[in-house]
């Protein structure tokens, strides 16, 4: 489940954090991969089930092949 706020994105029930850099954050969800691209991206909070991403988000790519 994705919840979008002003410059924050809350992702619940994610599977794995694959990569985190200021320009893109890659996550593995249940049956796809999510690539968030943007500027000054950072993981504000990380727990077992939730991840909160903050920064200027410019694009979301859902990769169903993964």
């Amino acid at each position: 489940m994705l919840t979008m706020m002003k410059n924050q994105l809350m992702i619940e029930q994610y599977e794995e954090l694959l990569q985190a850099s200021p320009n893109d954050i890659r996550l593995r969800l249940k049956d796809m991969r999510l690539i968030i691209s943007g500027k000054d991206l950072k993981v504000c909070a990380l727990t077992r089930d939730e991840i909160l991403i903050e920064g200027t988000m410019e694009g979301f790519t859902f990769d169903h092949e993964a």
Binding site: L18, A20, K42, V43, A45, R48
Partner: protein
């Protein structure tokens, strides 16, 4: 929530651990980490202080950078013994001073009662400064000790001061009734009676002489038998007094001398008057100017209780 935790305090960590590995640890231990910054060589993140032990044990090359917030401040202070001692001493001093009574003030209706309370407090061991253990107990003890002298008492605390308010116990004075007649002590004209018991033998406006019985202790009943009565009261009558005053002549104006003499005379006329008695009338008979002295004769009509000897 995160903001509150930051204020309370969080540990900032850095490690060369792989992001994937960190994520596995987060899943396994159910950690909650914040402000994750990942670069090529290292990862920096914040975690609550209570997770410190687990993080230090689980991540191989992790190092604690600092602790933020209030907890961080507290931990840093704890590394300086002098500060800890100061804080402990200040706390002790504050506790000691705030529980010490430095003064007891009192307000009430009688100075004697105030002194009595002070004396009782000294006997009880409450001599300022003293440790404020239990004000209510002190109040109860004080009330118990002074139950025969103090009607009402309230103790309140204002800072390091006790304030005691009180009212003294009043006792009604019961004078036993007597059967003595009321006899005129001097001549006069009866003005009014203040009688509680007794048989009046004279009436208002009667002229009476010294030695006359004014109120009797006997009363005839319907069968002409004498019944003994109590006698209690006062009889007020107009009496007369002549006052002669004189003074040496002085350079001040004559009217002032006149008033000086008049007031001296009034003082002389009223020197023996008691409560309820007063000068009723004043008649200046003469104002004489002799060689070197001036004199004045005044006739006073007084209202006096003529039954009570002076």
């Amino acid at each position: 929530m995160k903001h509150n935790k930051m204020i309370l305090g969080m540990d900032e960590w850095k490690s060369g651990i792989d992001l994937k590995r960190l994520y596995q640890l987060v899943k396994r231990y159910d950690w909650c980490i914040y402000e994750l910054h990942s670069t090529r060589n290292e990862i920096r993140f914040f975690a609550p202080v209570y997770e410190r032990k687990q993080i230090a044990h689980s991540i191989e090359d992790v190092s604690l950078i600092k602790t933020t917030g209030m907890l961080g401040f507290l931990f840093r202070q704890m590394k300086r013994p002098a500060r800890i001692i100061c804080v402990v001493l200040s706390t002790l001093l504050w506790f000691l001073l705030s529980n010490t009574v430095f003064e007891i003030t009192m307000s009430g209706d009688k100075e004697e009662s105030k002194q009595l309370i002070q004396k009782t407090l000294r006997e009880m061991g409450y001599q300022p400064p003293f440790y404020d253990s239990d004000m209510e107990q002190m109040k109860l003890d004080l009330k118990k000790r002074l139950e025969n002298d103090i009607a009402w008492m309230e103790v309140s605390k204002n800072g390091s001061r006790y304030h005691i308010q009180f009212t003294t116990k009043e006792f009604a004075t019961i004078t036993p009734l007597k059967r003595n007649q009321l006899i005129a002590q001097k001549d006069g004209v009866i003005e009014h009676f203040e009688l509680q018991h007794g048989n009046k033998l004279v009436a208002i406006n009667d002229y009476v002489h010294a030695g006359d019985v004014l109120v009797d202790n006997l009363l005839l009943d319907s069968s002409n038998k004498e019944q003994k009565l109590y006698v209690k009261g006062k009889v007020y009558a107009y009496t007369w007094k002549e006052v002669h005053v004189e003074m040496e002549k002085n350079p001040i104006a004559k009217p002032f001398q006149f008033f000086q003499l008049l007031f001296t005379a009034r003082r002389a006329a009223s020197e023996n008057l008691r409560e309820g008695e007063r000068i009723y009338k004043e008649n200046i008979l003469q104002f004489k100017d002799n060689t070197g002295t001036i004199s004045m004769d005044i006739h006073y009509t007084l209202l006096e209780d003529i039954t009570t000897p002076k």
